[in-house]
Amino acid sequence: MIFKAENSKENSIPKGVTDFLPEQADKIGYIEGKICRVFELWGFRRIITPMLEYEDSLSLGMDDELRRRAFRFEDRQSARLLAIPPDITPQVARVEGMRMSGFPLPHRLFYTGRVLRHVESQSGRSRELFQAGVELIGLDSPEADAEMIAMAVEVLQKLGIEGFKVDLGQVDFFKGIMASAGLEAGTSRLLQEAIARKDSSAVRLILEGAALSDQLKEEIAALPRLFGGTEILDLAGRMVRNDRSQRALENLSEVIDILAIHGISEQLTVDLGEIRGLAYHTGLTFEGFVPGIGEPVCGGGRYDGLMARYGAAKPATGFAFNVLSLLQGLESRPEVEASKRMDLLIFNQQEDRRDALAIATGLRRQGISVARDIIRRDLEDSLEYARRMNILQVMIIAPDCGARDEVCLLKVADGTRRYVSKEEILAGNGRDLLG
């Protein structure tokens, strides 16, 4: 087969990974910057974890599905199996157990980083994920869970996203019902899969053959439909009989009450049949959804069992944003577009470069981004370059441009020109002059 514009095999890149050119990279930087600023404002400190881990150590903190999706290979130095982390939370748990167990609690940690995961072929999905997340270690109070959700909401608001929902779940509600049913493992797994898909008819079919009381059958059959607004909690409370599920509901409503103090209510939905990550989570869970984006933009929850696997039993909660899915939703917003703009390109037509360099230095000191054209070419070509690079204005320094000691400022968008004196620019009001 012959492709047009054929790339040699050596120059191609593997499936499921992407080069981000400056335009998109700037937008990713803008989004990550907003997220990290919120994390810092809530008192979280950055942690950086390595790109390689021993597979067995990392596996302690992952469920089967995630473990299967990790990239693994042999270490030439130790002959042990290495893995590229498919998630950062198990790494934070390892660091906590190995290095930080003596530190005073709670730990508020955040990270941004990339992880790799195998995906099914031809699904069009990326194998590389950009994550930005937090872990709050050492607290088991509902206020800690509410803090996670409040931060997620604050980030989404600061990014200017409208109509988003944060969907709350509580895995103990499901676990309580299943524990009192005491079904054998096979049936239980089938039910779990059907409930995760909200497949009511499959749930009813499985229940038909099960030896359970009518009360329990009714509770299980209701799970695929127990989603909606916070009113679902009352409905669930009247229906379910076991203590564990009742406590799960109390925990949920405590978190919801605290969120109300944060002014967060109408953004919340509840789904008691949401049981993804059951092997890992131990209490409240949540995911953030944005209209028009098919997958959650963030997700997390309580995982009290994880730290113990790394030798430091402590309650913990956390969540992470999927930065690329946020990018998908924000790409064309004006303020995100603006994040990729530069202020000024200096086009010098004089032999002498001293003026150009002095003005550039002076403006940079005032916080204005300035690039020098350097290449000798026509103004037309420089303008075209500025347009392609998203530079807002071009400054022309030339002996025959305006009066003596004046330079010309040319707006790239509409070609309008203004003349200002060099002195005025260097006097410290460059920002006003550039408008």
Binding site: G163, F164, K165, D167, R197, K198, D199, S200, S201, P224, R225, F227, G228, G229, T269, D271, E287, F289, V290, P291, G292, I293, G294, E295, P296
Partner: protein, 212 residues
Amino acid sequence: MSDFITIAIPKGRILEESVELFAKIGIDCRELLGKSRKLIFENEAQRMRYMIVRATDVPTYVEYGAADLGIVGKDTLMEQGKNLYEPLDLKFGYCRMMVAEPAGLADQDDPSRWSNIRIATKYPNVTEKYFAAKGVQVEIIKLYGSIELAPLVGLSQRIVDLVSTGETLKQNGLVEVETIAEITTRLIVNRASLKTKHKRISEIIEGLEKQI
């Protein structure tokens, strides 16, 4: 655009039955039955949008959120295993997914003794899982249509396919030997859509449920 509900529907019988079912809950999409070659229809007044797509593509459109809802056979869902909600069995389009073989072979065949067999099918994933669970090694030949032909020309010994009346099987001298699953048409929902538009989507689900 986001206050619209978009539904992906495949052409053919599913389309007719779906239009009829939606009409019962006051959602009028008879326009889809016309001769137009348009692939997307909009009902401005009801804030609804309809897309006509291939049956095997319905789960993909819904998984990515290009459509909020979709209507598709359980066979396609089983084969693709996508991350979706499937809250409603619409009960129409009933058929069975089964293993069939030539009548002559079936006379002396004992499925419990199968150990290494060759199967032609449109459903390689379902077939592989089904036989793996029984501890039977299968060599799978993926075909895109006229599966019944494969055993007649020696391409495979057996097939895994859908059967509704059994007439095609009979005319090609095949008999059903094992049922893998009962298949009906399902309503599927994108995860984010169910959360961000839960009122409207819940109304549709509950409305349809009463009609079934």
